[in-house]
């Protein structure tokens, strides 16, 4: 049922990864994604994959859940792999049949691309599995806070993100309800040409917008009644404090990047 959808995809837990500061997790995730694209040989790639595996272990997120997050990208994964496999014309030819030609470089590129996408998605999924949406937006707010100096409304942006996350399930439920109600009046949403279908959406979109505006209006009142005045003078219940755990993680990441750089120096690039 719709009630079962989860905001973001946070899995509650108390693992090492769960306890890490959101800012550290966000920065490290970005660092990881950039670093994996710097890997040009199997040694460095292997190191990255091993590191991702370690993080998965530390997060106690079931592998099954991680695989589930990969499902939406399965097609892209296959597509890029096949593309790389047969469109790379340089390198030693391993196999040829009519116009299909497979080179070692093509094979390696395909493997690299696939592994990169897999790790990229898994690592981002780990971030969202182990960080609550609130912590995530708070982390982003804190990380972007230097931008306040150039008058970027960082707090408002973060608040908007939180509210959007909060209202996604509510609005999905609403769409479901409106669709059922209009279908009960014989609305036909499945047949007809493009214009007809676009027209058929009006009975759903209009009530949806009317309701969304009403909700926004009421929410604004409710927030004001709870003394919300923007970011000025606000404190937070959940203070972000960097601890030993976060320092260890940061050092480990620096070591990882250094390792990748070194391995790239000592071993030749294969792609």
């Amino acid at each position: 049922m719709i009630r079962d959808i989860t905001i973001g995809q946070y899995l509650s837990g108390t693992s090492f990864m769960h306890k890490l500061d959101a800012r550290v997790k966000i920065v490290c995730t970005f660092a990881y994604i950039i670093t994996i694209f710097l890997c040009k040989n199997f040694w460095s790639l292997g190191l990255m994959v091993a590191f991702a595996a370690l993080m998965t272990l530390l997060s106690r997120v079931p592998v099954r859940m991680l695989l589930r997050s990969l499902r939406p990208v399965a097609f892209i994964l296959l597509f890029t792999a096949v593309l790389n496999l047969f469109y790379t014309k340089t390198g030693n030819v391993l196999f040829q049949w009519k116009f299909l030609m497979l080179t070692d470089k093509g094979l390696f590129t395909a493997i690299f691309m696939a592994v990169r996408i897999l790790s990229l998605v898994s690592v981002s999924a780990l971030l969202t599995y182990t960080t609550t949406p609130t912590a995530l937006t708070d982390g982003i707010e804190k990380l972007l806070s230097p931008l306040k100096l150039i008058k970027v409304p960082v707090h408002s942006l973060a608040m908007m993100m939180t509210l959007a996350l909060r209202f996604i399930p509510t609005l999905i439920e609403e769409i479901d309800r409106i669709m059922s109600a209009q279908k009960a009046r014989g609305a036909d949403l499945e047949t007809g040409g493009f214009i007809q279908r676009a027209k058929a959406l009006l009975p759903i979109l209009i009530p949806l917008f009317v309701s969304a505006f009403r909700r926004a209006y009421e929410l604004a009142f409710a927030m004001e009644c709870r003394c919300y005045r923007g970011g000025e003078g606000r404190t937070r219940m959940k203070q972000m404090k960097l601890g030993v755990r976060d320092a260890v993680t940061a050092v480990a990441f620096v070591a990882l990047i250094a390792g990748v750089v070194l391995l790239s120096r000592f071993f030749p690039a294969v792609i």
Binding site: T132, P169, L219, R226, M237
Partner: protein, 285 residues
């Protein structure tokens, strides 16, 4: 008992494009006493919800004065202080929850007030325990029932340590079970924490539990008194589009048939007691 909110000859008109403005609230004089459980009843359009929004400076009086702890709500500089003393729980439980986790939502008010982190934690836990939602503190709000969401909203207000909570038809959209939960919570807060409660409702059985009832009709106060006094006037109820609580309806029908019932007959419990006493007196038990 001292006064927490005072309305002096208050009128209010919504801003419309039309020239003629109809007053949603007309010349209301009202005192809310500290620590009381005040119910405001009336049919839709009677002005009861508009009145509620005048108590905490959502609406500012077109005429007259609203004083909250002596502060005039019309003075821009007071608005923040008024709202930290008088909180409000709205009708639609979905449209007042801000955060994606229950405890973060309860923390929202104290955070806005600039309360130190450790104290917020304490207040949030206390508030969630007070409304019986502590076990749900890590839940996502949309997975809760209507009654539970309203209790979270109540916790969000009392975590601000407000003196007074207004319930603006907060039970209208939830099922009977949720309504009972909310009502029990409200009575507990009123009795145990001494929080002043202003309860706007059109359910007469809820109003029957209050210390005092104000009946709104056509924007004015049509009657005011204890539930027993107000519900004794059936003509008034009929005139204002209201009805007796079901238990009181039975008691009224029996009295019409010559049955002498003594004491309070407004709630099912008290009415059953009265019927039991009458049966004993008649010697049939």
């Amino acid at each position: 008992m001292d006064t927490i909110i005072q309305l002096k000859n208050v009128s209010f008109a919504y801003e419309t494009e039309e020239e003629e403005k109809t007053l949603a609230v007309k010349n209301v004089d009202l005192e809310v006493r500290r620590g009381e459980f005040l119910a405001v009843v009336g049919h839709n359009g009677s002005g009861k919800s508009t009145l509620a929004k005048l108590f905490n400076a959502i609406h500012l009086p077109t005429e007259g004065q609203v004083l909250v702890e002596g502060m005039d709500t019309a003075d821009e500089a007071n608005v923040y202080d008024v709202r930290r003393r008088v909180g409000m729980v709205f009708q639609n439980p979905d449209n007042q929850i801000v955060a994606t986790i229950v405890e973060d939502d309860v923390a929202f008010g104290p955070e806005n007030l600039g309360v130190p982190a450790a104290e917020i934690r304490e207040r949030v836990d206390d508030a969630l325990r007070a409304v019986g939602m502590y076990e749900y503190r890590l839940y996502e709000p949309h997975k809760l029932s209507g009654g539970q969401k309203q209790r979270v909203a109540v916790a969000g207000i009392i975590a601000m340590r407000t003196d007074c909570v207004i319930f603006d038809e907060s039970t209208a959209m939830i099922d009977p079970k949720g309504r009972r939960e909310v009502l029990e919570t409200v009575r507990k807060l009123n009795r145990e924490l001494g929080i002043t409660v202003i309860f706007i409702t059109h359910f007469m059985e809820e109003a029957a539990l209050a210390d005092r009832v104000v009946v709104m009709d056509g924007g004015s106060v049509a009657a005011e008194g204890t539930p027993a006094e107000v519900f004794a006037d059936t003509a008034l109820l009929r005139r204002t589009g209201l009805e007796l609580p079901p238990a009181a309806q039975l008691a009224a029908a029996l009295r019409e048939n010559g049955v002498a019932l003594d004491g309070d007959t407004l709630t099912p419990e008290t009415c059953a007691d009265a019927l039991f006493r009458a049966a004993q007196k008649a010697g049939v038990v």
